[in-house]
């Protein structure tokens, strides 16, 4: 399934299906000095699925995402994305290949408006440079307007029309999380990495966010890898779950399997239960 235009995606890709493996991680090991963050981890992500990564604090979940989008460079292992192998990569190049992400602690551009944040999200799709931008008319401007159209579709999708001109620093936490998702969506990614998209939200906000995530997956066919602590949410929305503990993989499978896995129960509840 190719990434479609946001507006009419519902028609074209109604009904989701899980396809080929688009990302596979093989024997990834990452260490910071003597600290082993990840040890020999392998798993894959199939096209169109919602893949959750869970685990206790410090298990290496965020490091895993950072490896996928090139912020961290693993010492060992290989990453194959869309058939292309890579070991290490600059984050901005990963973005150009279609990997977008959100952060555990909101990483929006605080001095800019919601609209500008989302427009920045489309940087990989814009091709004109400095001199075209300087003019204020001509091709640079036309490109800008065309992308504004796309960004407005994301704004409509996330129901944030009323705050489009507000500087993000002034928004409440829940909305900032939503804007950050919007910024990632504006890039029309084929793989979306969400680092605790529901952390610190109340039930209502969580439900909204779940709905957006499922809609993204459903209507746009975007493959999603997410980290989440709320077990109820994870079991409800994900297709397959990877469990990490102390930088090692201790479980992998559909939610029901993972829930029954003794290692997982041990990691979460402690021995003796």
């Amino acid at each position: 399934m190719q990434m479609n235009q946001i507006g009419n995606a519902a028609v074209e890709t109604a009904g989701r299906k899980i396809g080929e493996v688009i990302l596979s991680l093989e024997h990834i090991s990452l260490a910071f000095g003597g600290v082993k963050a990840l040890t020999d981890i392998s798993f894959d992500v199939r096209e169109g699925e919602v893949r959750a990564i869970i685990g206790p604090n410090g298990a290496g979940k965020s490091s895993m995402l950072n490896v996928i989008n090139g912020v961290y460079h693993p010492q060992q292992g290989r990453i194959v994305f869309h058939g292309r192998e890579r070991r290490a990569m600059e984050p901005h190049k990963a973005a150009r290949q279609g990997i977008a992400r959100t952060f555990q602690n909101i990483a929006l551009f605080k001095g800019m408006s919601v609209l500008d944040n989302l427009m920045t999200g489309r940087v990989t799709k814009m091709h004109h440079g400095l001199f075209a931008h300087m003019l204020g008319f001509g091709p640079g401007r036309r490109e800008e307007l065309a992308h504004r159209q796309k960004v407005e579709e994301v704004i409509d999708f996330l129901e944030i029309q009323h705050i489009r001109k507000t500087p993000v620093g002034r928004l409440p936490y829940g909305l900032q999380k939503r804007v950050e998702l919007g910024r990632a969506l504006a890039a029309e990614p084929s793989l979306l990495l969400l680092d605790e998209p529901m952390a610190g939200m109340n039930v209502e906000e969580k439900e909204d966010m779940c709905r957006f995530i499922l809609d993204v997956n459903d209507q746009m066919g975007t493959t999603i890898v997410l980290i989440e602590h709320d077990m109820g949410v994870v079991m409800d929305i994900s297709d397959r779950v990877v469990v990490l503990d102390y930088g090692k993989k201790i479980g992998d499978g559909v939610p029901a399997e993972v829930k029954a896995n003794p290692h997982v129960i041990k990691a979460y509840l402690g021995a003796g239960h």
């Binding site: 973005a95 990483a107 940087v123 003019l135 800008e144």
Partner: protein, 358 residues
Amino acid sequence: MLYREAGQFKTSFAEDMQIFPIRQDRIAIGLLLAFAFLGVPLFASEYWFSAILIPFLIFALAALGLNILTGYCGQLSLGTAAFMAVGAYAAYNFQLRVEGIPILVSFLLAGFTAAAVGVLFGLPSLRIKGFYLAVATLAAQFFIVWVLTKFPWLSNNSSSGVISAQKIQILGFSFDTPVSKYLLVLGIVVVMALAAKNLARSGTGRAWMAVRDMDVAAQVIGIPLMHTKLTAFAVSSFYCGVAGALYAFCYLGSVEPDGFNLDLSFRILFMVIIGGVGSVLGSFLGAAFILLLPIFLDSTLQPAAQAIGLPFSNATVSHIQFMVFGALIMFFLIVEPHGLTRLWQITKEKLRLWPFPH
């Protein structure tokens, strides 16, 4: 006319994204430009042109250059004056050594030369940030002034590196009166300020601000850090370089390397801080504040002292001037740490509702 946007409905994205979306702003800018180009030359005196208006415009341009780097891209620089010096000396040398080169082309090439030097000294920004980067740009400040003094070729073998700017001629017309120089400077500054405003609201500007606000996120989104930072250094230095060329050719007439010292860099930095970080308008307000306030105090304090019959000597008056100036800077920074632009924005937001705030 009341300042408000009620009733101005935008029906297309193009209308919503124009450079001045509010009609009253467009009218005000139009009037201001008409006044600056047509009104001012009618009644301003020679003193006003050569001592106030021309330096104001040139400093505003330099402040705009620094604002692009520091305000928009978040890279602190203390080398502004050095980049101006590069511009001034480059324009001088292009005029001197290239037969029949038009002066505007010299200014343009001076800008590009400064941009190249700026990129060179911007390279450390890829590894270091904040105060440490400021120290690295300090090296540019001292190194460039040293080079200009050390190599007599750059100043055509004049003693202690002093250069006298050549006469300005465009298409046979000599710009030798203060009015004509003022109009030339004004024209260049207006074009460059509009270009800066366009840059700021385009993808380039957003990339700069993204790097300023959160560089890791910017990179993850797909903004190449190296390219973005170096572009900011290049554009910023280009603006400073052109400002430097104008400083030599239209304001002072002859300059020496020591004129472009750290003091000047700091002055321009203060203009940016007081005017408003990350704002085109702020560069102009800051330049006006730092440059015009001392002149204003100078011309009002002495008569005021005489009027109340206080026996102030000239020295005392100039001391008082410094004290008032310093106090005002502190006052403005305490009242509004985000600069005069922020005050202006707050005024505008209030005006939109005035006189019916509910």
